[in-house]
């Protein structure tokens, strides 16, 4: 039925089976839309956030998603700027994932802010001192870039290619793809960085405040590096998952290995810098703010464990796997290491968002925790469902993995 729009030379499951696969995601999307509607219509008391947990699960998951979506910009950077040709095999998939992550994050943000209709005030009356202004500008611009990058993938579709105007447009786009990749890289770097800066500048939160280089606190750079490390890992993981779900070989092992090696190198840098940063914070920053650094950990063993986990289990271990040639040869090890790296990003963003807010600053305030409400969870699941739908449809009707055709024939 939909044969005519499936790219030539690719094998795809029967339409019925595909629709059956989509069904649960559509239902989840419906549930998520209802959750988001409740939040928009009745206000954010539908969530379990409160005045202390002013940022909650949404911001934490947004940060995570955006860090993982960094695979898009970083793969583009590696391919177009650093000329890592083998990554051409995953660039289309990377763009789609980037687009999903960024647009999904923006959708959740629009539910997260109390007055979405006033969101454009940031453009009209921007406070240039605010990291959030930087975030807003970057995310908007980069989302535009991603949308433009996403277009050619769509336009390559057999049916759409029949419209000459689209063909011309796509061809022209290809010519500027290097420019787009450059701009996208810059924007995304900045975006990741300013998300980190969001926390690092908070001199009112000693737990997260970091010294600055220029106007940027260290978290600015740590976020960029950690996203760069996790991006390829996430690409590795998603490609592997897509391959498992579709039951097809999508890229050669060399591509997996290449992604893993890149992740490993950057991760090693990250682990080093993160450790240095933490030690500096313990020695200098925290005491200068009148805080004994141990006071944050002494009463909260769970949080100390999280820190160790992030650096040791989710940092050092995958790094070691990625950089060991023998292990890299095995896809199983690569996937394991990629999973650990992605979990590391999750833990890092969790600590910065949730733990920062859980710890009080006033001597008489309490350590708090909270559990997201179902409306909050639902709204986020909406993004997951949306991502699955967009990715599944893109996978079916576009050639996300150029090697797929060769691997099938060969």
């Amino acid at each position: 039925m939909d044969r005519s729009i499936i790219p030539r030379g690719l094998e795809r499951a029967p339409l019925g089976k595909f629709l059956l696969w989509l069904l649960p995601w559509v239902l989840l999307l419906g549930f998520g839309l209802y959750s988001a509607y409740l939040c928009l219509r009745y206000g954010l008391h539908q969530t379990n956030m409160d005045n202390r947990f002013a940022f909650g699960a949404w911001i934490f998951l947004d940060l995570t998603v955006i860090a993982l979506g960094a695979g898009a910009f970083f793969t583009g950077f590696l391919l177009y700027i650093l000329k890592r040709r083998e990554l051409k095999a995953v660039i289309n998939s990377a763009v789609v994932i980037g687009f999903i992550c960024y647009s999904g994050a923006v959708v959740v943000l629009m539910v997260d802010v109390g007055q979405p209709l006033r969101a454009w005030f940031t453009f009209w009356h921007p406070n240039v001192h605010s990291m959030l202004t930087e975030v807003t500008f970057c995310i908007t611009c980069y989302l535009t870039v991603l949308a433009i990058e996403y277009l050619p993938i769509l336009l390559k579709n057999r049916k759409l290619r029949q419209i000459p105007a689209f063909l011309v447009f796509e061809f022209n786009l290809h010519k500027v793809m290097y420019v787009l990749a450059g701009v996208g890289t810059f924007l995304s770097f900045f975006h990741q960085g300013s998300l980190g800066g969001l926390y690092g500048v908070l001199n009112g939160r000693p737990f997260v405040f970091r010294e600055a280089f220029g106007i940027w606190p260290t978290t600015f750079f740590l976020f960029i590096i950690s996203a760069a490390a996790a991006g390829p890992s996430f690409m590795l993981l998603t490609t592997w998952i897509a391959s498992k779900v579709s039951g097809k070989r999508l890229v050669t092992h060399y591509v997996y290995e290449s992604l893993g090696r890149i992740s490993g190198y950057i991760l090693s840098g990250y682990v080093l810098l993160k450790t240095a940063d933490t030690l500096f914070w313990i020695r200098d920053t925290a005491p200068s703010l009148g805080v004994h650094p141990a006071s944050f950990f002494a009463n909260q063993p769970g949080y100390t464990a999280l820190h160790l986990l992030e650096v040791a289990l989710f940092g050092f271990l995958p790094m070691a796997i990625f950089l060991t040639k023998r292990l890299r040869a095995r896809l199983g090890w690569l996937v394991t290491a990629a999973t650990l790296t992605c979990l590391g990003i999750v833990v890092n963003r969790y600590v910065l968002t949730i733990q920062t807010l859980a710890l009080p600053t006033l001597p008489f305030a309490e350590v708090l925790s909270y559990v997201p409400s179902w409306q909050e969870t639902g709204t986020f699941l909406m993004v997951i469902a949306y991502g699955m739908l967009v990715y599944s449809i893109s996978f079916r009707y576009s050639n996300l993995f150029p090697q797929e055709r060769e691997l099938r024939q060969g």
């Binding site: 209709l117 006033r118 454009w120 005030f121 105007a165």
Partner: protein, 715 residues
Amino acid sequence: MKVSRRDMLMLLGGGAVGTIFSPIPWKLLRDSSVWTQNWPWIPVPKRGAAATAASACPLCPSACGVRVRTIGGRPVMVAGLPDAPGQRGALCAAGSGVHQLPWHPDRVRTPLRRVGGGSPGFEPASLEDAVGAIAAAIRETQGTVAILDGRPGRVLGGAYREFLSGRADTCVLVPPSAVRASMPVLRKLHTRDPGPLAVDLDVVDTIVGFSAPLLDGWGQPGLVQQRMHEGRLRLFQFEAVQSRTALMADRWIPITPGTERAVALGLARMLIRSGRVSPAFGYADFKAFVAAYEPWTPRRVFEVAGVDEATLTEVADALAPTGRVVAIGGGDPAGGPLPFEDEASIQVLNLLLGAMGQAVKAQRPLADDPADAASDRVATRDLCDVPDGSVGVLIADLAMAGATVPWPILARKMAPQGLLVSLTPVLADLALHAQWVIPTAPAFTAAHDCPGHPDLPRSLRLARGFTPAGDEVVDPVDLLNRLGTALGIERQATVADALDDMMALRLRALHRAGDGTVFVAGKDPVAMAEIDSPEDVLSMLRAGGCWRTALAAAASAEEPAVEAGDDQTETAPPRPAMPFALEQVAAKDSGGLVNGFQMYLIVGGGVERTAGVARSPILSKVDQESGLRPFANVARVNPATVASHGLRPNRRWRVSTPQGAITMRIEPDPTVPPGAILAGAEPQGALPWNAGNPVDLAAPDGKTWRLLPASITEA
């Protein structure tokens, strides 16, 4: 010519570009964001001319003067009235929101009749039906017809008595807190009745508080604390819980819960033995008196109350019998008064320390006060003193009482088929148990008199009506008139504005007596004797003035005669036996725990957690969002007790007393003594978090609901 699809796309494209360069998207964007700044469902405060008016806070017997900011005549803010006597501009949290009470969400808008059996509710009814039903009940009942006056001293009280005087078996009931306040008990300790007494805070230099909420609802907290800060008042506080008063006291001496009596008796013994007893103290059989106190040795006090000899001696040494020292019990407005024996033991200290005539003075009687109308024909009784099951019809007016009356105590007094009628502006608290609810005027909607605290010099303020009360409100006098007509009783007061007439009568009486002073903010106080006419007094009171009686300089009921010492007692002139058996009071042992209950439940919360009408929506909000006050459903327990009993805060716990149990959350609180549970009283039905009311666990004899034997088990 054929218009192709491409051409149509071009048209649309041109349209899109044109639209972007037209005001359409930008204006819509802007207007929709302005719409969010101007949502039609968010109220816009009404404009109008601003003004300030002085009035009185009607919520409790402290009757503080208030300064009301109005916009177009509507009150928008209430603050304490500066320069007001006895208060100095202070106003409590409840008073700060009093102007919101006419819009209380539980406001009664029509007479309500109780319906249903299992889960009772109310249905609207007409006033005629209400009058008919109440009149029929009064006609048919075999029991007593009574009116419960939560705020005695108002001219309305005179109207109540006057109504009841038309029948044989009637009485006016008053809440236990009014009869067991400190000064009424001290009055009873005398051989000859010295008349109403009052504490003169202006001359007091030392207060010995026995769990008295001196900074939290007793009398004039603002005055007490300001005098303390000026260094003109010392406060020794004996109290089990480290209450706010205890915290601010110059010296807080922790005691075992419920042992105020033991400490007071021990202190009395020390004063007697060290001879530091006022020469003014007289007692016919001093030997017997001394003997009665002899068992309360420091050792025994330590065993019972946990106060060691050194501390007790230290306090005793600081209490010179100068007459400027006063001991106060009083109890907590929400948690109820102390048992009579406790209060009596405390008041003996005032006798020993010679407070009579200096720190404590007699109030001059006021002749022809309409508030006392028909007092010779209708008895005024403590609610706890009427026999169980004897009240056939009870009309309860607890609005603005500033005191709590637990339902179980009231329920026991009602005859099996008795009829309870509640006069209330808000459907809460005892009104929830009534068969008939009659809507009365909420605070700030009708003018009325606000008499002062029973322990302080008699005073009078007028509360103004700011906003119209509404047609549904029933004037209590009007209700009595209708009942009278239905019952065929000839009544003197036959007009609804009888209150005005009675106010005029009262002012005439005050003016005739020429006693006391009228204070008007921003002006010099004027002696009543210098005011030309009662009408002038009225206009001064209407302008927010406060009349306060001058206390009799030397109102000692006991002539000095007896000096402390065995020899002199023999030579003292024979006198009638002193008060009702102080020795018996002294001999009675302190309460103690009942078998099976190893802990104490202490109920408190101050004046702000008394009757439901006293709580404005904003005060409820502040309570709900700050947790500063003890709550009904939160058991505050010492952290050591929490640990030793394994009371996990995230579970629900059942707090049991001999009268029943309620479910509570646990909150560790180091200001609560080990082995005790502190909980707040709660006006019933007022708020969603209300899981049960500790006040309803009151002992059936009505002696106390402030301190109850208790135990905790997992719910």
